[in-house]
């Protein structure tokens, strides 16, 4: 198969799969799930083959439409970055779908779930390969919409639909900023394709557009200030959260940062970094006080994406995006497996399966899941031998190197220090979670039995666990070295100084110690940034509109109503005039007058020729007199 047809296959397969699933919508058995999973395997194979065959950047264009002289073609562009993320999407999609076969087995309308997953994957792939900025924007919005559908999957649950609406609205706010940013970007560069934008100067226009792009990305990536939708979004089915709200969708903002990295100035990069830094620190703190297993992971996702943003959109961001994608998807899937296990043990749903205070001692009950969870957690902390270690080292190295010859050195220092604090924080909350879930004894009153996890859970977890191991990224356990995977993704590595490694060791040690000491004492609190302007915006707007409606529109109606009434009064007046003045005085009066005249004059009509002659001569004489005198 040629590269082009392979590409088209990859682009269209999820959509085709989604449309075909519509036909299976009313089937109650598992056929839809299997069908979708098989197609996701095909998609993964196609992606692998595509990556294997593609040697240099691929640029494709199909005619779409034009407006005046402006061409709107379907431009696609695939470089090593998008290729690597594409593979991540394909792998995560495969793992999640296999996992979902079992996890969603008992749902009556699970086919709908698979349709939404396919819709999401289709949009995400479109987003990753789009070169034409408006196609990029279109898929960007579609990604948000499919996230809405997934979150509201259990649509009879009020919390789920509220969360879905919130996610979509916050995303839309970001989308507006992105839209305006892209308008400016295309105005600044004069072209509509990312790949054809040539940088000469950044200028004011470029600066504003860069800032708007950052703001736009905060929505999709759940960063400060539009971060609060992601923890709520955990109302959706857990495997879908693994795919959408951990590995892929939320990294769209990072992808955007990577994409516009060469097109924007250093200050814009640092704006990304600062927004990321704020999110990184605050979300780490919020995660610390969470007792809900999924919400902790959601906050850790926000903070890790903040970390990617702190890579400013450079190769360091991409590196962490890839490693994080695997271990975070793994974490969510294992969390899903744990919830599934607890529900199975606790048939009557007596305890909240997501509350870590109800768990404990699970290591001996579900060993495969527990071990994989621990492996993923190591990645999250960034301990050596895990993939997270290398990407964090690389990121620290990049920031330290950049700070040395930049005029914004202070900002870089801020980022490096945030990174240091964040490492301690993430060590605390992650190890606390691991200790509470797997260590010690069962804390609830229920008796849990040892269970062999279903094969549908084991395959994806083991696959993701392997992908989260460090040796795939570097053979040297405590040092970065270029591996095949790194080469494939086109990442240039930056080594971090030795003092950073020393600091890291201290950070881990402090974190572990604190977690061990205070693991059961940290209170459960739902800290969040206050809901910012958006609910207020809606409420004030609605109030204002109702006010206007009641006052202004009524006044206007009143005015028109009175105008109409005035018209009626006027009409009555006219008709009165018509009856009495025109008809009464003029018409009837004139008829009367003419009657009188007539009766008077008729007397003159005596029928005598002589008198006629007399009158005629008198009149003629008068005329003559008038003219002569």
């Amino acid at each position: 198969m040629s590269l082009t047809s392979l590409f088209l296959g990859i682009l269209l397969l999820p959509w085709i799969s989604g449309i075909l699933l519509l036909l299976l919508l009313n089937k109650k058995n598992n056929v839809g799930a299997w069908f979708s999973t098989i197609l996701s395997t095909v998609l993964l194979v196609l992606l692998a083959q595509f990556s294997w065959l593609q040697e240099k950047d691929l640029s494709l264009s199909f005619p779409w439409f034009s407006i005046g002289k402006q061409l709107f073609d379907l431009n696609f562009y695939i470089d090593s970055t998008s290729r690597a993320i594409l593979l991540l999407v394909g792998l995560a999609n495969f793992c999640v779908q296999v996992f979902s076969i079992k996890y969603m087995e008992k749902e009556s309308n699970k086919t709908r779930y698979f349709i939404w997953v396919n819709l999401f994957v289709g949009s995400m792939i479109g987003l990753l390969v789009a070169d034409q900025i408006w196609i990029f924007y279109g898929f960007w919005e579609l990604v948000g919409a499919s996230s809405y559908f997934i979150i509201s999957f259990w649509h009879h649950k009020k919390s789920a639909i509220k969360a879905a609406k919130k996610a979509f609205l916050l995303n839309r706010i970001g989308d507006l900023a992105l839209l305006i940013g892209l308008f400016l970007l295309s105005k600044h560069f004069g072209v509509n394709q990312f790949s054809q934008m040539q940088v000469s100067t950044f200028g004011l226009l470029g600066g504003i557009s860069g800032f708007l792009l950052v703001l736009g990305a905060t929505g999709k990536s759940a960063q400060f200030p539009l971060m609060s939708w992601l923890p709520d979004a955990m109302e959706g089915p857990t495997p879908a959260s693994a795919l959408i709200h951990a590995a892929t969708m939320v990294t769209a903002g990072v992808f955007l940062a990577i994409k516009v990295f060469p097109l924007t100035s250093e200050l814009t990069h640092l704006t990304y970094g600062i927004f990321g830094g704020i999110s990184f620190l605050s979300a780490s703190i919020f995660a610390l006080f969470q007792s809900d297993i999924k919400k902790t992971l959601a906050y850790s996702t926000i903070s890790q994406i903040g970390l990617m943003w702190m890579g400013l959109g450079s190769d360091a961001s991409l590196f962490h995006l890839l490693t994080h994608g695997f271990f975070k998807a793994g974490l969510f899937l294992s969390a899903g497996a744990i919830i599934f296990y607890v529900h199975e043990q606790d048939k009557k749903h007596e305890i909240d399966a997501q509350d870590i205070n109800n768990l404990g001692g699970l290591l001996r009950k579900i060993p495969v899941i527990s071990i994989s969870y621990i492996i993923f957690s190591l990645g999250l902390i960034g301990l050596p031998l895990s993939s997270g270690f290398y990407s964090k080292e690389n990121l620290a190295g990049y920031l330290i190197e950049q700070s040395q010859n930049s005029s914004y050195a202070n900002l870089y220092y801020f980022l490096v220090i945030s990174l240091g604090i964040g490492v301690i924080l993430s060590t605390i909350y992650t190890s606390r979670q691991v200790l509470l879930i797997f260590g010690g004894q069962q804390r609830s009153n229920l008796e849990f039995t040892k269970s062999n996890s279903p094969i549908y859970f084991q395959i994806p977890l083991i696959l993701l666990a392997i992908l989260s191991c460090g040796f795939l990224f570097s053979f040297n356990p405590i040092h970065l070295s270029t591996s095949k995977l790194i080469q494939f993704s086109g990442i240039e590595l930056v080594e971090s100084p030795t003092y950073w490694l020393v600091f890291s060791v201290f950070a881990w040690a402090i974190g572990l110690l604190l977690a061990f000491k205070f693991r059961a004492k940290i209170p459960a609190k739902n800290y969040q940034f206050i809901e910012l302007f958006w609910p207020k915006l809606f409420k004030t707007g609605v109030r204002f509109a109702s006010f206007l409606q009641s006052k202004f529109e009524r006044t206007l109606d009143y005015f028109f109503d009175n105008l109409a009434k005035l018209q009626v009064i006027f009409a009555h007046l006219i008709s009165w005039l018509d009856r009495w003045v025109v008809d009464g005085i003029l018409v009837k009066g004139s008829s009367k007058i003419s009657y009188i005249w007539g009766s008077v004059l008729s007397k003159w009509q005596s029928g005598k020729v002589q008198s006629y002659w007399a009158w005629l001569s008198i009149t003629f004489g008068l005329f003559l007199l008038y003219f002569l005198l």
Binding site: L142, H156, R172, I180, F183, F560
Partner: protein, 552 residues
């Protein structure tokens, strides 16, 4: 002899109306009107097959003398029966044909006086078609005015509880708009001189003889130099005459050099505003919109479909066809204000929609918001803005029809449209929920549906415009957030969540086959237009570039 297809398109519904009004075939009223409307669609297909997208000029032109009278020394007046289609009107007449037949198809809920109902629908269809087909401004005006009559009775007789109020309000507002247009029409008619007709009147050329641009120029200079006696001047209402400033008699108040000023505005500016507001009431623009929610709430479903789907478009059509070409400089001068009105319409409509508890009122206000994008696009004076505006007209025609039909589905079953009286409909009516979800997401501008393309290009045009401020584009952009707000809020309240009906006796059956047919048709049309926008853009592209070149 070639068939006068455009005349047939107007005559067939008129004929059907006559047959229906005679009342002889009472039991078959719906079938007759549906048949007439299908024949009309057949004719439209014939037009489409022969239509050439490569030119911006009128096609299938039909021209006959109609009114000719002399005013002595004031000259002569000519009004022509002049029909034609071009890139602007073609999409709209197809929309009219399709939406009419869909409205007729969904008229089952009308049980009383069916033959007069369908006769009026046919009359409405004929006058709508006439509006879009007329090349002569007076002819257009007659069709435009005539539209009032069937609409007034359709709301006033078959409407809801406050039908009298709504119909008279509709009547007054629209009549006020027509008066504005009439004033402008008279001013234009008396100030402009038709060179072709004048040439005929002075026997400069013979009927049927070609009339070149040089000839026109000769006549124009001759008039300006006073070489042609004023009783030979021929005033016509041809839109093409008004579009050429050289036809304006130099002593008339509409001439740019005229010193006539009233309240800081010249006569031309006044005339522009008269036309703008006259058509704006129809669109409607804020603050002349209050007739719309009332009319929609009281009108029966198929009439609402026609009202939102086609009638509103005439406002924007009037701007693009008449207002802008007649007064390009004035329009450009005020483009910033126009954009502002557009942006305010978007936001005001959206906030009001958010505040509504009546589903139909919500959709009506969303219409106001969506039509604001049309004004925003038009006021940008860019190719993409105009294309977006025209696209938005068609897209909104499809989507608002879909939305009003959906409101009709629930109203037919329960006679209750309050959003808070329903919850969790997804569990009772899955197919209805599916298509409503699709319609809502299409309307809030999800990429892949037509709503996105229209809004996107209107915004893009407004943003790139050199004549209006980018702030209006940004404010208009807020409309897309608010749009998501009210649609999602409604969807959440009515369709998702726990199942609840205010009245437990309500029997809510899912969509019937008949309902599904039209709903899916409209939904798929929106999807097709969203994925292949070139269906519309190919039609309008030449027309828009031609107009842009003409104006600048």
């Amino acid at each position: 002899m070639t068939l006068p297809i455009l005349s047939l398109i107007i005559c067939i519904p008129l004929l059907a109306a006559l047959v229906l009004a005679s009342g002889k075939l009472k039991g078959y009223a719906q079938q007759i009107s549906l048949g007439a409307s299908l024949i009309q669609i057949g004719l439209l297909i014939k037009l489409a097959l022969g239509y050439q997208t490569s030119t911006a000029t009128f096609q299938w032109v039909e021209q006959h003398d109609w009114i000719h009278f002399s005013l002595g020394s004031l000259g002569q007046f000519v009004a022509k029966y002049h029909l034609g289609i071009d890139g602007l009107s073609f999409g709209l007449i197809i929309l009219t044909g399709i939406i009419s037949s869909i409205a007729i198809w969904n008229s089952d809920s009308i049980k009383e006086k069916t033959s007069s109902y369908f006769a009026l629908i046919m009359l409405l269809n004929a006058s709508l078609m006439g509006c879009f087909l007329a090349k002569d401004f007076l002819l257009f005006y007659l069709f435009f005015e005539f539209m009032l009559l069937p609409m007034y009775f359709l709301i006033g007789i078959w409407g809801g509880p406050r039908k009298e109020y709504a119909s008279i309000k509709f009547f007054i507002y629209t009549l006020a708009g027509s008066l504005f247009i009439l004033l402008a029409l008279l001013a234009l008619g008396t100030s402009y001189i038709d060179p072709y007709e004048t040439a005929l009147a002075i026997d400069f050329i013979q009927p049927g003889q070609a009339f070149s641009a040089e000839n026109a120029q000769m006549i124009q200079t001759a008039i300006a130099n006073g070489e042609i006696a004023s009783d030979k001047w021929v005033h016509s209402f041809d839109a093409a005459v008004f579009a050429d400033l050289k036809n304006c008699y130099y002593k008339s108040i509409l001439h740019p050099d005229s010193a006539w000023v009233l309240g800081n505005l010249s006569a031309r500016e006044w005339a522009f505003w008269l036309l703008f507001i006259g058509f704006g009431i129809k669109l409607p623009i804020v603050p002349f919109h209050t007739w719309l929610p009332d009319a929609h709430v009281e009108a029966p479903t198929p009439v609402s479909v026609l009202l939102a789907g086609v009638l509103l478009k005439i406002g924007a059509y009037g701007w693009l066809r008449f207002t802008l070409p007649f007064f390009p400089k004035e329009a450009l001068e005020f483009s910033n204000i126009l954009s502002g009105i557009g942006a305010i319409s978007i936001i005001y409509g959206a906030f009001n929609a958010l505040a509504m508890t009546d589903l139909k009122k919500l959709v009506a206000y969303s219409s106001i918001s969506h039509m604001g994008f049309v004004l925003l696009g038009i006021a940008s004076f860019t190719a993409e803005g105009w294309q977006g505006a025209i696209f938005q007209l068609i897209s909104h025609g499809v989507l608002s029809s879909l939305l009003f039909l959906l409101v009709g589905v629930i109203y037919d079953r329960t006679h209750d449209r309050s959003i808070q009286n329903y919850s969790g409909l997804a569990q009772i009516m899955p197919a209805y929920t599916f298509i409503t979800g699709l319609a809502f997401f299409a309307s809030l501008g999800l990429p892949g549906f037509s709503g996105f393309i229209g809004e996107f290009f209107s915004l893009m045009g407004s943003f790139n415009s050199q004549h209006s401020s980018a702030i209006w584009a940004i404010l208009g952009g807020l409309g897309i957030i608010l749009g998501a707000g009210y649609f999602l809020w409604t969807f959440q309240k009515m369709f998702l969540g726990k199942q609840y009906l205010k009245n437990s006796e309500w029997l809510l059956s899912d969509l019937t086959r008949k309902e599904k047919l039209s709903l899916y048709f409209l939904g798929i049309s929106s999807l097709l237009l969203g994925i292949f926008p070139s269906i519309i853009f190919n039609l309008t592209d030449n027309w828009v570039s031609h107009l842009i070149n003409q104006l600048f």
